[in-house]
Symmetry: C2
Subunit: 557 residues, 2 copies
C-alpha cells in the first residue's frame, strides 16, 4: 500500500458503514407490497417481513443474545431463515448456518467449535439434536421451528424439554420496534463449516462489509451486465440450493435488497418445487446438477411451460448432456463457480455480445463452462512452484483469487488458514485454464486431477464425455494408482432406466474417437463399472474421496 492523501472529515460528518441492515433498509423503499412466500403455507409482503425481522431481534435480545454471540439455525429453506439472515446479523450477532446434511458428530463438532449460544431448530432435526444434546458445550437455549403453526397450531403440542419457545409464538409476543445500531463494517456476520478431505470441518466466516460487497458484485453481474438477466421489475426468485450452503449463493441478500418477489420451498420435494415454480411465476433459481436432472427427467416437465425459468448450476459441473436436455425444455441454463470460502460467487456463465447470439448448439459450449470471472474478483492460475500460468485457454494451474468477499481464514485453524492464503492469494484447490477473454475452464480439483504418463488429465472432462453417451444417466471418474502410468482413470456409470450399456461398447466408442484423432488415448478409462448410484457428499457433489477409498477394491478386483 502506498501513502496517499486521505479526505479530511468535519467533526460531525457521517459516512455510514456498509452493513447488512443497509441492504434490508432498501427492501421497503420502493416495492413494499411485493411478497415473500413459504411453500403453500405462508406469504407476507416486505413491510411484514421487516416487522418480523425486528421482532426476531427482540426475541433474541430477550433470550440474552448479545452482539458478538453466535446464533445457530437448522432449518430448510424458509422465510424464517431469511429473517435470520437479517434479524440475527443486524445487531452484531453472528449467524451460524448449520449444514444439516453433515453427520451428527460433525454437526456437534461445528456447534461446539462455533460456540453457538442459541439454536433455532426445525422439528425435522430434533432426532439429530437428541443424539448430540448432552455433548453441546456452549448452547444455552433452544427455539423450536415447526411448520404446523401455519396449518394446525394446536398440533405443535408441548415444547421439548429445555426449549425456550416456538418461533412464531415468540415473534408474536415480541415488540416490532428495533433500531438497528451502527457498528464496524468488519463485524463478523455469518459462519459455516466446510468439510474437506481430511480432518474436522473447517469454519469460514464473512463480515458485513464482505456480504454487502458480495451483493454489490452479484447485482453488478446479473443486473448490470445481465450475466444471468435479473431485475427487480420482472424477476421472481426461488432458491433450490440450501440456505446453509454459502448463503444460498448470496441471492437472498440481493433479492431482498431489490424487494424482488421471493419463494422459499422448504424441504425440496420435486412436485412442490414444480408447483411453486409455476404458480408463483418463478424466473430465477440455482441448484446442483442433481436437482436439475431430477426436474428435467420428471414426467410432467414436458407438459408445463418452463421457458421463463432461468437456472444457475453450481456445486458440480453442468454437463453438455444435461444442459441440452434443459434447453430443449426451454429452461435457460447458466453455470456459476465458487466455494464456501468465497461467499460464493467467483464466476457466472456470462455471454458477451458476440456469444449471446450464437445458435443454441454453440452456446452450450459456453453455458457449460464454469463462468467468466465475476466483477471485482481478480483471478490467476498458479503452478506448483507458485508461478502464474498464462491465461491462454489451455495451460492448467490452480485457481487463486483475491476479492472483496473472500473468507480471511478458517476459524481457530491458523495452519489451514495460512495454507489457504499462502503468498497473499486464496488457493481454491481447483485446477483450471482461463481463456484470454476471462472464461474459467475448470479441469478438476487439484486432488482429483489424474496424473497419467506425465500428463495431467481432467476427471471432469472424461465424465462429460461419458455423460453424452446415449443411455448414461450419470458418470463419475477417479484416478487410481497404476504401476506403469502412475495413475489411470476408472469410471462408474449409472444407466438410464431401460438402457443396456456395456463397458466394452462405451470403450470402443471412445477408441473410435481416438482413431479419428478427436481424443487422446489416455482418456479412455481402464475400467468402466455400472452401479445403481454414485456416492455423493452432503452437498450433492460426487464423493471422489469415498469412491477412491471404498470402491478401490471393487474397481480393481
Amino acid at each position: 500500500m502506498i501513502q496517499t492523501k486521505l479526505i479530511p472529515r468535519t467533526a460531525e460528518a457521517v459516512e455510514p458503514p456498509m452493513l447488512i441492515k443497509t441492504l434490508l433498509a432498501q427492501s421497503t423503499k420502493y416495492e413494499p407490497q411485493r411478497e415473500i412466500i413459504y411453500r403453500d403455507l405462508f406469504r407476507m409482503n416486505y413491510v411484514e417481513f421487516n416487522r418480523r425481522v425486528r421482532q426476531l431481534a427482540n426475541v433474541l435480545t430477550d433470550l440474552g443474545v448479545k452482539p458478538g454471540d453466535t446464533v445457530a439455525v437448522l432449518d430448510w429453506d424458509s422465510h424464517r431463515y431469511l429473517e435470520c439472515f437479517f434479524g440475527v446479523t443486524s445487531y452484531g450477532v453472528v449467524l451460524h448456518t448449520i449444514n444439516v446434511r453433515l453427520s451428527s458428530a460433525q454437526i456437534l463438532y461445528t456447534m461446539n467449535h462455533a460456540q453457538d449460544k442459541i439454536v433455532l431448530i426445525h422439528e425435522d432435526f430434533l432426532p439429530i439434536l437428541s443424539a448430540i444434546k448432552d455433548q453441546l458445550t456452549t448452547v444455552e437455549k433452544f427455539v423450536l421451528i415447526s411448520d404446523k403453526v401455519y396449518t394446525d397450531p394446536i398440533a405443535v403440542g408441548d415444547l421439548p424439554t429445555g426449549f425456550s419457545g416456538e418461533y412464531e409464538a415468540l415473534l408474536g409476543n415480541a415488540s416490532d420496534q428495533y433500531d438497528f445500531p451502527d457498528f464496524d463494517e468488519n463485524t463478523w456476520a455469518t459462519t459455516f463449516y466446510t468439510t474437506g478431505t481430511t480432518g474436522n470441518p473447517k469454519g469460514v466466516y464473512f463480515s458485513h462489509r464482505q456480504l454487502f460487497m458480495h451483493t454489490m458484485g452479484l447485482a453488478t453481474y446479473v443486473c448490470g451486465y445481465q450475466a444471468v438477466p435479473f431485475s427487480s421489475v420482472t424477476d421472481v426468485y426461488m432458491p433450490i440450493t440450501p440456505m446453509f450452503h454459502v448463503h444460498a449463493w448470496g441471492f437472498p441478500f440481493l433479492a431482498t435488497m431489490l424487494s424482488t418477489k421471493q419463494v422459499y420451498p422448504g424441504r425440496y420435494e420435486p412436485e412442490l418445487l414444480l408447483k411453486l415454480l409455476l404458480k408463483e411465476g418463478v424466473t430465477l433459481s440455482h441448484c446442483v446438477p442433481t436437482i436439475l436432472n431430477m426436474l428435467v427427467n420428471s414426467p410432467v416437465a414436458n407438459q408445463v411451460d418452463l421457458t421463463r425459468w432461468k437456472v444457475i448450476i453450481g456445486g458440480s459441473a453442468l454437463t453438455k448432456g444435461l444442459a441440452k436436455g434443459a434447453l430443449e425444455l426451454g429452461i435457460q441454463v447458466y453455470q456459476g463457480y465458487g466455494m464456501s470460502e468465497t461467499a460464493p460467487i467467483m464466476a457466472l456463465s456470462q455471454l458477451n455480445d458476440l456469444e449471446r447470439n450464437l445458435p443454441v448448439d454453440e452456446k452450450v459450449d459456453y453455458l457449460t463452462r464454469a463462468g467468466r470471472i465475476a466483477p471485482f474478483i481478480e483471478m490467476h492460475l498458479m503452478d506448483d512452484e507458485g508461478n502464474f500460468v498464462p491465461h491462454d485457454g489451455h495451460s492448467l494451474g490452480e485457481i487463486v483469487a483475491r476479492g472483496p468477499w473472500l473468507t480471511q481464514g478458517y476459524y481457530e485453524d491458523p495452519e489451514c488458514g495460512a495454507a489457504l492464503w499462502k503468498g497473499g492469494w486464496l488457493h481454491t484447490g481447483d485446477v483450471a485454464s482461463i481463456t484470454p477473454d476471462n472464461w474459467v475452464l475448470i479441469a478438476d480439483r487439484t486432488k482429483d486431477v489424474i496424473k497419467t504418463g506425465g500428463e495431467w488429465i481432467s476427471s471432469l472432462d472424461i465424465e462429460d464425455l461419458l455423460s453424452q453417451v446415449d443411455g448414461v444417466a450419470e458418470a463419475a471418474v477417479v484416478g487410481l494408482p497404476d504401476e506403469r502410468w502412475g495413475e489411470r482413470p476408472h469410471a462408474l456409470i449409472v444407466q438410464k432406466p431401460g438402457a443396456e450399456l456395456t463397458a466394452e461398447g462405451i470403450k470402443s466408442g471412445m477408441q473410435a474417437k481416438v482413431q479419428l484423432g478427436e481424443l487422446n488415448k489416455w482418456y479412455v478409462p481402464d475400467r468402466i463399472l455400472f452401479v445403481p448410484e454414485i456416492p455423493k457428499t452432503s452437498v450433492g457433489k460426487i464423493d471422489k474421496k469415498r469412491i477412491r477409498s471404498e470402491m478401490k477394491d471393487l474397481i480393481l478386483q
Copy 2:
C-alpha cells in the same frame, strides 16, 4: 457505534480496498470491443482506452506528479476527461475538475485554493489562462489539449510559452505499462468547487471509496431497480451535463465499469448532439432542462426517431410542460435530484410496479417529481429547530441526508463544513416534503422559499404553474419584501416567439383557479414582468440571487 466482534484475519489474507481502479479493471473484462467515441473526431475500444489511461499515468508521473498532488482539467466533455477520471486518480493523485463557466477570478481562486500542480487545458480556455496565469501560486506545468490533432496535427502549431506538451503527443510517447498500486480507499480522488450565494467558491471532495459506492448505488438503482432502465447489453451513454459538474452525475464511472458504449460530445452544439444521438444510437443522457428544451424545440426534433432516448433531468426542476413536450416526441424523461456535495445522486424518478403502468398523463405527475430516495441514502426533513418533520407528502422541511458518498466537509473551510454537517446530517438547503412511499417533492431552496402571511410557498410551484400557460417559454419567480405580508411572489416570463401574453391575462387565469378553489390566492404573483432572457448561473440554474438583487428596482418600479 456499538462494540462487536470483528472477523479475524490470517496474516497473508488480502481484502482489497475499493478503488477507482477496481471499476476500471471491469471495463475490459467482458466487452473490450465496445467503443468510446469523441464527437465525429475519434473512437477507440476499451482496450485502447485502458492503454491510454496507463499512458496518461506515465505522462503525469514523468511530469513529476506524485500521489497526493492535484491535477486540474479544463476541457469540454471528452474521452480525455474520462481518461483523467481514471488515469489521474488511479495512482493516488487528486483530480480537480474546474468549472469553466465560473468567472476568471473564481477559477483563479479555486486553482490556488486546490493547490493545482499540473493543469490540462483545452485551447478554447487559453484566454482564461492568459488572464490569470501570473497569479497562479502553485501550478508548475501545463499540458495543452487540442482537437486539431485528430484532423490536422500540423495546425496545432507551437506550444504556448510554459507548456510541457500537447496531450496526444505526450500520450503517444509514454509507456502503456503501469501497475496501479493499492492504497487506502479513503484516499482523496476528486475535488471541485460550488458557488454559493455568498463568499468564495467552496471545495467539495470525494474519496475512492465514495465514488466506488456512488457507482454501486447508481448501478443498483438503474440496473437493479430499473429506475431509469439501464444495462450494459442494450444501452449507449452520452452525457450532456458537463463532466466538471459533479462527475457528470457519476454516470461515466458506471458506464466505464459496465463497458457500455459511450459518446462524448465535446462542446455542446445542438446539431452535433442530435447527430451523435442518432448516429451512435444513444439511449441514455442527462441534462439540465434548458438543453432538453432546446432539443425539444429544435426544428428537426419532429423529423427524427427519439423513442429510444432516455434522458434524466437535473439541476433545475423539470416542468410538466417540458416533460409533456418531450414525451410527445417519444423521449423517455426522468428526473434526478442531487447536488455538488452529494456526488451527486440522492434521488431518481423511479416508478414502482403500480406507477409504471399508469397512462402518460398521470405518469407525468410522477416523472416531474425530484425522484425517489436513492439506494443507501437516508433522507429526512428537518424544521428550523432541528426536529424531524413527518414524511406525509405535505409537511415541509429542509432535506437532510446521510449516505456512503457525501462530501465530508468543505476543503479548508471548517465553518461552512460544520454548518453543512450540523447535528450529524448533511444539510442540503432544499425545502421539500417526502411522501410515505419515498417520493421527494422539492418545494424550494431554503433561501428561495417565499414566506408570505405566515405561509411558506414554493417559488418552484408558481414557476411550474406559469410554465403551463400557453405561450410561456420560461418563468422565474422570486420573493421580494412586502410591508404587509413579509414577502410576496414576483415573476419574470420569457414568451415563446409570436406569443402575445399580458400580465393581466395570466393573473386573471390564475384568479379563475383561485375562484374554483384549485389554487390558494397568495400564489398569484404581485407582478409579472416579460423579459427576453432569464438570468442563469454558471451551471444553467435560474440565478434568483441575481434576479432579487439586480432586478428588485425594475420589478418594484
